[in-house]
Amino acid sequence: MRRVMPPLVLLAAATGVWELVVRAAHVPDYLFPAPSAVASAFGADAGLLGNATLVTVREVVLGFLLSVLLGLTIAVLVHLSSALRQALLPLLVLSQAVPTVVLAPVLAIVLGYGIAPKLVVVAIVCFFPIVVNAADGLQSVDTELVRMMRTLHGSRFAIFRRVEFPAALPAIFSGLRIAATYAAVGAVFGEWAGSSSGLGFVMLQAQPALATGRIFAAVLILSAIGLALYALVTVSEHLLVPWKQEVPHA
């Protein structure tokens, strides 16, 4: 609790200053809405925002799961085959020079206006940190542990399952945490490229209507989605990597 308080106090203070400045300077709501105006947008557009949130959450969660599946599979393959590692890893790094989110319009053409292109954009954005961290984690396993496993009749698969994979879990979760913060961005870009629902779509529609309060509300919800996913990953790590948090022997 003591760690949460200082940033919360600062945030509340900043919100207060924002409200005061906007009111004192008589800034119109469509230019820069005060926190109170954003709050009333939440109330007025509750149904619209609620439905859009459900759509976007679905895209974020499914896209994230897709990227985890894809990322871990590729990391494991790259780990098991050094030929594949040498061929694929440089390409993966190079691929990061491509501003992947701008591929969203192309994906909309190829995959249509349904959920599929959004999932692909989310996966493209999230996949890289997952692969790199997981591959690194698998690669940097203590070689002495592997030698020990070999003297205990450990097959290649046993070494992977009982030593390399658990040892790589903390690194894998670092990758997942980074990816979790990217996922919402991916979903919004996917929606901007072509959609008829979701928070990104709501923002696009609100812009010409100068409903700036609604846009801010959507941004806040998107931040909350990112935060929630991050929290979910952290909780999973606590459950799946319990040996990292245990109190050492005195």
Binding site: M149, R150, H153, P166, H249
Partner: protein, 261 residues
């Protein structure tokens, strides 16, 4: 009382011919770490190897275990020279305990059984009774980080024993321990080896430890065996303390120290 041999079904191949090193040379980073080493450890013999740090002791154990290959000369265990065959007959306890932090003490100890395809519950059921014998009762469900150094070493040792191999290779098994715990574990190991006889190669820089536990002690220096001592101490029924202070022991220690230069 249940023995380790029963737990592991004693299905390890018989290292009948013991361990034989013939003019073994190993180069590491341009340096001759082992330089024409010849050695014959008979079945069920206990041989200690002492020497300074960097004398090539750990390299020698890795070679015997089948984790490393010679540059010249041959290593054979039970008459077989292939690395895989050596791996199948030797259990190596490395200097560090190398326990897996994510497994409980019990699951670490029964790792070899699980690797052999035994169901996890069955492996645990067979291993559990041995925890009492090693003074590890109550530690079964704790992870390595929650164990004392002495307990970790004992779990590592049990794990090595449960691999069910004929040849035990111990690399400074008690190096990380304080003097009192080390003494206790040495005594315990001596008893354990009497009830579970194995062929033993013990690497250490503790001369007392080698003399206490072994039938024969070799001094390794600069990659060569420079001296060899027969240890014929009347061990029966004598405590560690009585042994260490006996005239024969003191004389042997002097001889070994002299050989070490």
């Amino acid at each position: 009382m249940q023995t380790v041999a029963e737990v592991t079904d004693a299905r390890s191949p018989i290292a009948g011919a013991g361990v034989v090193l013939d003019r073994v040379t190993r180069m590491l980073g341009g340096k001759r770490v082992l330089d024409g080493v010849g050695l014959h450890v008979r079945l069920r013999e206990r041989v200690g190897i002492v020497g300074r740090s960097g004398a090539g002791k750990s390299t020698l154990l890795s070679l015997v275990a089948g984790l490393d290959e010679t540059d010249d000369g041959t290593v054979s265990v039970g008459g077989q020279t292939a690395a895989e065959a050596r791996l199948a007959q030797c259990a190596l306890m490395p200097q560090r305990d190398c326990l897996l932090p994510w497994r409980t003490a019990l699951d670490n100890a029964c790792l070899a059984l699980v690797n052999d395809g035994l169901p996890r519950e069955e492996a645990r059921r067979r291993t559990e009774p041995l925890f009492d014998r090693l003074g590890l009762a109550g530690a079964e469900r704790l992870r390595p980080a929650q164990l004392s150094v002495g307990m970790r070493q004992r779990v590592a040792f049990l794990r090595t024993l449960l691999a069910g191999k004929e040849v035990l290779l111990l690399d400074e098994p008690f190096g990380a321990l304080d003097a009192i715990t080390r003494g206790e574990l040495q005594e315990w190991l001596a008893t354990a080896l009497d009830t579970e006889p194995r062929t033993l190669l013990l690497v250490t820089h503790d001369i007392e430890e080698a003399l206490l536990l072994c039938d024969r002690v070799l001094v390794l220096d600069g990659g060569r065996i420079v001296s060899e001592l027969d240890v014929r101490l009347p061990r029966d029924g004598r405590t560690r303390r009585e042994l260490v202070t006996s005239a024969a022991f003191v004389a042997l220690r002097e001889l070994t120290l002299e050989a070490l230069g």
